[in-house]
Amino acid sequence: MKTNRSDTVSLSTLLSQVLRFINRFKIITAFLVVAVFISISTPFFLSWNNILNIFRQTSIVGIMAIGSTFVIIGGGFDISVGSLLALTAAMAVGLQSYMAWPFAIIVVIAVGAGFGLINGLLSSKIRIPAIIATLGTMTIIRGVVYMYTGGYPLYVDSPGFAFIGSGRIGSIPFPIILLLIMVAFWQFILVKTRLGRYTCAIGGNKEASRLSGIKVDFYMTMTFVIGGSMAAVSGIVYAARLLSVTPLAGQGYELDAIASAVIGGTSVAGGEGSVFRTLIGALLLTMITNAFNLLGIHLYIQYVFKGLVILAAVGFDSYSKAKA
């Protein structure tokens, strides 16, 4: 009897230790588990080309998700970034009729930041709940995309511009390099600068932040500006990869971006998160899609599964927090 009991006790402590590890490094754990599982079922998965492929496919949503991470940590939400990708991609293509592509890029990033500014002001100054404010701008921007494109796809032919989407440095595609640079840069901003610290503080406790002399409205707006700018960068990569943009571009991307952030452990309540883990979250999402394609699983099922992954990630986090 007695030994039996101590056995179960040690088993349960072991179990709780394992759980604690999973909880602490849950995103990495999930990533590894899925990777191992998939590579067993389809050997092609681990090939160098496929790995590069996964990273390249992640780059557009991944860059967008960096912005979403900042917005969510600051206590906001931005669902307009999918439409913004379409607008910025269309403009990156269209503007090249009037100017050289490097100038087009600069204008486009300014447009992205500008819409981010509008989102930020609507939510911080006018105090419209962020998800509703960006629902409004999402619809407006999509309308602007149709107006800008006249409803038809736009095309461009410019080798320099195309390099952003499909060029390589060594054997590594340029979008991957851009993604990794962005992740490193914004992770640094988040952890090592005032801007990052204030973003976490405001998401963690807005009133206490205000009473600590932080310009809460300004910094909240800044998170949306970052979100808009990153959406513009992802729009540029999108346009440069396809060299054509339809008015329907980027639909649903905002959901993938938000999903990447929350799967990566960004607290939906605000205050906590990491750009690096968002990257892992984004990779995880792409990896699942990639594996399903390799395994020949129907697209419809992929949607269902993706939704379940999001619920599982956020659910695990919320539930374990409520229990702690």
């Binding site: 503080a201 206490a208 205000r210 009473l211 002399g213 229990k323």
Partner: protein, 517 residues
């Protein structure tokens, strides 16, 4: 017949709640260590202990907010293991938390019956039935709260009563009260005591958690003292005195420390002047001067406008009219940012909601208000400088933690308050406003806070020390202002007799303050 009083004192009688070797550990701390307590029927049982002694953890384990590690809980003779406070409430064991847990925009009636609304079979609310039950409760216990009033229009004391009614509605046999008087003024406290005594007469048991020894001796039948998660002892209240209880709480005896020496700051220059500050609706024209190195006490009842005055000076609320002068020049304060720029700091009343980012590592809270000082022109932070400052304040304020990366939420109230103080000292303020700085922290930590305030004033900081506790204010302040109904009612120096100050606070007669319509 034996009165219920005597019943409570006969410890052999059937207990309503029995805890047997209750234990709970958190990473790094044994918060509860085999604690066994019995609560008799109709007893007021005080639970005493410093912050971090395990009082809150004990409550949470009993009602199921935390899962206990080991031990058992017997309620009303049966072993129970509640999975949530809601379940324990439905079973007749309620908690009244320090923080209010009512819904502000709902009416009294809606709050009392929340989760237990009388409904018809198809789920339509039966308000008539609720009202009948409400008035019978009111009659039975002698409450007088208008059922249709919204909660946010009631005073704090009345809100406490509503919470009690909510508990009674579910026929609670035991009510745990966690520092119920923390935000009550002194006259409200007396009224609240009457309510508690009435509950006792009706045979309801009460676990009364508090830091205030006077309350323990005024109310309780027995006292259980916790220290470092262990039970020190359970004693009958009439068999001990304050000294012995304090000794048991802190494990050493505390010397009487009433420093009555007169300090002179009169010669010092005036650093801040408030001229006819109006912050509607609570502050109705307050003027005062603050000298360099002075500790200016501001006291008064809850609702007298103390907190609102502090918020006006710090730019949290915009003032309707009036002037603030610093160093003989008029300044405009439109936000906390402006106030900080002019060397004003506010330690807010609600430490957890307004003072700290609880999910932050503690060092981030210490440097938050002066992050500019820890970053270069590009805004890049220097961790080394941050750690340096943390170390400095750890030593200066004797903040107790093992690592600067500890999450602020997990620290005791006293240590949290010291972190707020450190945060503001980092901004190098010339005026430090402290609003109820010792609220909800234990005796020892209070003493430490007083010592810190005195030391700061020696160093030349000017402190506005706001407190609703008159003895505390007299103890610490060089000069005392009494606010009553938004206006300055009186001014005293530190040698003024307590009764005079008290009289000014209450406005002559205590009865006047008990607004009864």
């Amino acid at each position: 017949m034996i009165s219920l009083n005597e019943v409570a004192e006969q410890e052999s009688l059937k207990p309503i709640l029995k805890l047997d070797k209750l234990s709970k550990a958190f990473p790094g701390v044994q918060a509860l260590d085999e604690v066994s307590i019995e609560i008799a029927e109709g007893e007021i049982h005080a639970l005493l202990g410093e912050n971090g002694s395990g009082k809150s953890t004990l409550t949470k384990c009993v009602v199921g907010a935390y899962k206990k590690d080991s031990g058992s809980v017997f309620f009303d003779g049966r072993e129970v293991d509640f999975s949530s406070p809601a379940e324990s409430y439905q079973n007749g064991l309620s908690v009244i938390y320090q923080e209010r847990s009512l819904i502000p925009k709902f009416t009294v009636l809606q709050n009392v019956f929340l989760g237990n609304e009388s409904t018809s079979r198809v789920g339509v609310l039966n308000e008539r039935k609720c009202k009948e039950r409400f008035s019978s409760l009111s009659k039975e216990y002698g409450f007088d709260i208008p059922p249709r009033e919204k909660i946010n229009r009631l005073g704090v004391a009345e809100q406490k009563t509503v919470e009690i009614m909510k508990a009674l509605n579910k026929k609670s046999r035991l009510i745990i009260m966690d520092e119920p008087t923390a935000s009550l003024s002194e006259s409200e406290v007396e009224h609240f005591f009457e309510v508690v005594r009435r509950l006792k007469q009706k045979g309801i048991s009460i676990i009364y958690i508090t830091h205030i020894l006077d309350e323990v001796f005024a109310l309780s039948d027995r006292i259980t003292i916790l220290r470092d998660g262990k039970k020190v002892d359970t004693v009958r209240t009439d068999s001990v005195n304050k000294g012995t209880v304090i000794k048991m709480m802190i494990g050493k005896s505390l010397k009487e420390h009433f420093d009555t020496s007169q300090r002179s700051t009169d010669k010092n220059s005036i650093i801040m002047s408030a001229k006819n500050i109006v912050n509607k609706p609570r502050v109705k024209g307050v003027s005062f001067d603050l000298r360099k190195g002075e500790i200016l006490g501001i006291t008064g009842l809850t609702g007298a406008g103390k907190t609102e005055l502090a918020r006006s000076l710090f730019g949290v609320d915009r003032i309707n009219s009036g002037e603030i002068w610093m160093n003989a020049s008029k300044i405009r304060i439109k936000s906390p940012v402006d106030a900080i720029k002019h060397g004003i700091a506010l330690i807010p009343e609600d430490r957890k909601e307004d003072g700290l980012i609880l999910l932050f590592e503690l060092y981030k809270n210490i440097t938050l208000a002066h992050l500019r000082g820890f970053s270069n022109r590009l805004g890049i932070l220097s961790r080394r400088n941050e750690m340096h400052s943390v170390k400095e304040y750890k030593k200066k304020l004797d903040i107790r933690f093992s690592s600067a990366n500890q999450i602020t939420r997990n620290l005791s109230g006293g240590n949290q308050q010291k972190i707020v103080i450190a945060k503001w000292l980092e901004t190098k303020p010339s005026v430090l406003i402290m609003d109820e700085a010792t609220q909800g922290i234990d005796v020892n930590a209070k003493e430490e806070i007083y010592a810190i305030v005195r030391e700061l004033s020696e160093e030349g900081f000017s402190v506005i020390f706001i407190s609703s506790e008159v003895p505390e204010t007299r103890n610490i302040a060089d000069r005392i202002l009494v606010l009553r109904e938004g206006k300055l009612a009186a001014e005293f120096d530190r040698s003024a007799p307590q009764d005079d100050v008290m009289n000014a606070v209450l406005g002559g007669t205590a009865e006047n303050e008990n607004k009864q319509e």
